[in-house]
């Protein structure tokens, strides 16, 4: 289990680096391909609770280090806040763990879809935080295109 956990950490770190080389997909309205949430949710489904918390901490913290520019005086939002954004959907996915452990392919398909549905909530939470931090909440038609596409 520990070996699997560390493999997930390496994969998540690798995905963050890999995503640096992925431009927006113009054919999908400039959507973004996200590998990290898919791996993270997989970890939430398969790991026991303490390791799932450690995975959440690692993923959220790394997400902020990779994605939030640390400007001198006015960062977009506190580094580490994404840990909490990942925690909520992560806990929901972890609740499905007993179902996942039955190892039936149809439930795995269903859980993959639930993960895909939960991913935009992480992005929306980060967007809302950024919006409130900078001024007011702002919504554009561009966002409603669903600028994210999650493999899974």
């Amino acid at each position: 289990m520990i070996l699997f956990f560390f493999s997930l950490l390496v994969l998540i770190f690798g995905s963050f680096v890999f995503q640096l080389f992925l431009p927006p997909v113009l054919l999908l309205h400039g959507a973004v391909i996200l590998f990290v949430p898919a791996l993270y949710f997989y970890g939430c489904l398969s790991l026991p609770f303490p390791l799932m918390l450690a995975l959440t901490f690692f993923t959220g913290f790394l997400n902020d280090l990779f994605a939030v520019p640390q400007a001198r005086s006015n960062p977009d939002f506190p580094t580490g806040i994404s840990i909490l954004f990942y925690l909520v959907p992560g806990l929901i996915m972890h609740g499905f763990r007993p179902l996942f452990l039955r190892h039936r392919w149809e439930t795995h398909c269903l859980l993959a879809e639930i993960g895909a549905v939960l991913t935009p909530f992480i992005l929306l939470a980060q967007y809302a935080m950024l919006s409130f931090e900078r001024s007011d909440f702002f919504f554009s038609a561009m966002l409603s295109y669903g600028g994210s596409w999650v493999p899974g």
Binding site: V17, Q19, L20, F21, L22, P23, P24, V25, L26, L27, L28, G30, V32, I33, L34, F49, P50, L53, A54, T56, F57, F61, L65, F66, A67, P69, Q70, A71, R72, S73, N74, P75, D76, P78, T79, G80, I81, I83, L84, S131, R134, F138, S140, A141, M142, L143
Partner: protein, 267 residues
Amino acid sequence: MKSITIAALGAFGIFVVLILLLPQQTKRQLQGALFQFISPVLRTGASVQQELGGVRGGLKRLDELERENQKLNLENEQLRATNSLLRNLEGEVNRLNRALGFREQSAFKLLPARILSRESATWWNFCTIDRGTKDGVATDMAVVTEDGVVGKVTTVAKDLAVVLLVSDESLRVSVSIEGTQEQGIVSGTRASSTYVPDLKIRFLSKTANLKPGMQVLTAGKGGVFPSGLVVGTIKDFSARQLEGIASVTPAVDLAAVQDVFVIVGER
């Protein structure tokens, strides 16, 4: 609830609070160290990406690929490989000539840099360049091209730096409008009706007589950007209750920019 669960929750809470309370300086150092750690990967990836022609075109569907393949086969019969190679070389030479001319004519000491990576989620917000503290780059240095302003340096590692792009909402630059007395603050927009985000100038006078196509130049008042750098051109102007607001098309093609210059001082 099991004791191990309670202990894990407690430890998780403590670590989260510790991370949130870290000083900004430490977080910047952590980010710098992280990018420094992955810099070999970024450099290798950037060169491979360049050799492969990039993946900017994105993923395509199978039928689109088939159509494109047929089209390319047709074109391939008509064009010789040497012609294609020469055209690519000509474009590269022209681009580098423009950059070299700009560097030699500029009143500033310019450090050439290449964009290493841009994450898709923050494509219009920031990028990393292959210059760092060992090349004399420091935070708050302006980053430009021969066309105009690109952004400013926010985080610096030993041999790479993070550049906040002018299209980011949090980067504010004092600007003046060419041929007028008007001055305002330009910043990026969070999202746009078009794919490439426009910039927005605020705090203009309501009666400003701005026409589309007028050049927007840096005013040099913020201490980061010297005056006279081109930011973009006026797209449209609207008068609000208290101020005039203009949208600006960026001078630099932020979607395609590859080579930039860091202003490290004056000549």
